[in-house]
Symmetry: C2
C-alpha cells in the first residue's frame, strides 16, 4: 500500500554516516580522522553513536585494526554511492560566473567576517565556492584551488602570500605555483590583501592533526 503523503526518507544522522563511510573506506579511524580534519576520537564517537541508533554493529574492533561486519560490508558501498552522487551533483552545480574558484579554509574560521559577498559583488565573473574545513591535502589533491591557512607558509611548489599584517603567526594564501597567477586567484589575493585590518583573517585554531604518511 503506497502512501499518498509526501514519501519522505528515514535518514540516519548524516555526519555520523560520513564518519562511518570514511572509516570503512580506510578501515581506520585514524586515517578517516585525517581525511575529515578531526581527531580519531571524534570519528570513533560518531561511529559508535551511529551503531547505537541503527542497532547494528558495523565494525569488528580488532587490535589496531577495524574489520567491517557483514552489515557494514553491505552498507558501505551504498552509502559511498549516495555521497558520491551528492558530491558529483555539487561539482556540476554551475557557478554564477564563467569561472569557478574553489577556496579552502583551514580551521574553523567564521566566514561571515570575510564578507565574501563583497568579493562576489565586485567579481561577477568568478564563482566563489568554499570548502571548510580544508587543509594542505585538499590543495595537493586539487580539491581546492587556493587555501587560506594560518602559520603554514613556505611550501615548495606553492606560492604563499601573507594576507594579514599582524605579528606572530599570520594567515597565508597558498596556491599551487602553476596556477598562482591566474586571474581568479590573483584577483582574490589582491582583494584579500586590501581588506581592512579589523576584518583580517582571525583564523581560529581548531585542530592540529599530525601528518599522516607525508
Amino acid at each position: 500500500m503506497t502512501n499518498w503523503t509526501a514519501m519522505t526518507y528515514i535518514l540516519p544522522p548524516l555526519n555520523a554516516l560520513r564518519a562511518f563511510e570514511a572509516a570503512a573506506r580506510h578501515l581506520s579511524f585514524k586515517l578517516a580522522a585525517h581525511e575529515l580534519h578531526v581527531t580519531p576520537a571524534a570519528v570513533g564517537q560518531q561511529v559508535k553513536a551511529l551503531e547505537a541508533r541503527l542497532g547494528v554493529r558495523l565494525f569488528e574492533r580488532l587490535h589496531k585494526q577495524l574489520v567491517l561486519t557483514a552489515a557494514g560490508q553491505a552498507y558501505l558501498p551504498e552509502i559511498s554511492d549516495g555521497f558520491r552522487r551528492i558530491a558529483d551533483a555539487t561539482a556540476q552545480l554551475k557557478p554564477v560566473g564563467a569561472v569557478l574558484l574553489q577556496l579552502g579554509v583551514h580551521g574553523s574560521f567564521d566566514l561571515r567576517r570575510l564578507e565574501l559577498e563583497a568579493f562576489r559583488a565586485s567579481h561577477a565573473e568568478i564563482g566563489l565556492r568554499v570548502l571548510q574545513p580544508a587543509g594542505l591535502h585538499e590543495l595537493i589533491e586539487g580539491k581546492v584551488d587556493v587555501l587560506i591557512a594560518r602559520g603554514l607558509g613556505n611550501h615548495p611548489g606553492y606560492r604563499c602570500d601573507r594576507v594579514t599584517e599582524g605579528s606572530g603567526l599570520g594567515d597565508w594564501l597558498i596556491a599551487p605555483a602553476g596556477t598562482a597567477d591566474c586571474p581568479e586567484i590573483s584577483s582574490f589575493r589582491d582583494w584579500l590583501r586590501a581588506l581592512p585590518v579589523e576584518n583580517s583573517l582571525a583564523l581560529h585554531r581548531r585542530r592540529v592533526v599530525g601528518i599522516v604518511r607525508s
Copy 2:
C-alpha cells in the same frame, strides 16, 4: 588526469543540504520545517548558509512562495536521489534480530539515559532502531512503529500508555491500535514501564511546531 590518491568527495554541509532538499521538495520553508521537526527560521538559515558556501542561489524568494532557480532545479533531483539511496540502504540494513522495531523519539531526549542496550541485551530477537527527532507524522506514515512523546496522550486509533509516574505532563508510549499488542511492542512497553524512576524519560521539550494541514 585521474588521481591515484584515495578519491575523496567534496561534500557540502550535509544538514544544510537536507534542509535544502526538503524545502525544494515542498517549495516551502514552513512545510520543510514541519517535516524536519524544526522551525521555518532554522530551515531558512540553513539554506542561506548553503547558498553562501556554494556561491549559488538556489531559490528565488517571491512573496510567500519559493521558486527554484535553474541551479536549484538541476540540483534537487540529484540530491534527492543521493538521500534516497542512503535511506534505502539504511532500511535494508539487517537488524541483529529477526524483527525490526523502529522507535521514534519526540524532542531531544538524551538516549543514553534510556540504556537501550539493556533492552537489546535482554531481547536479542528484537532489532531496535531509533529515529529522532520524530513526531506523530512518523507514526502515522508508518515510518516508526512506536513513539515516545511527552504530553501527547489519547489519540483516537492509537494506544497510549504512560511510561512515567511523575506528575504533570508525562511521557507516553504511542502505538497504532492495530499493532499495539504485537510481541515486540509489548515487550518494549513492559520494559519501559519497569524502568527505575531515576531513568524515567526526561524528555526535554525542544520544539512545538503548529499542526500543518491537520
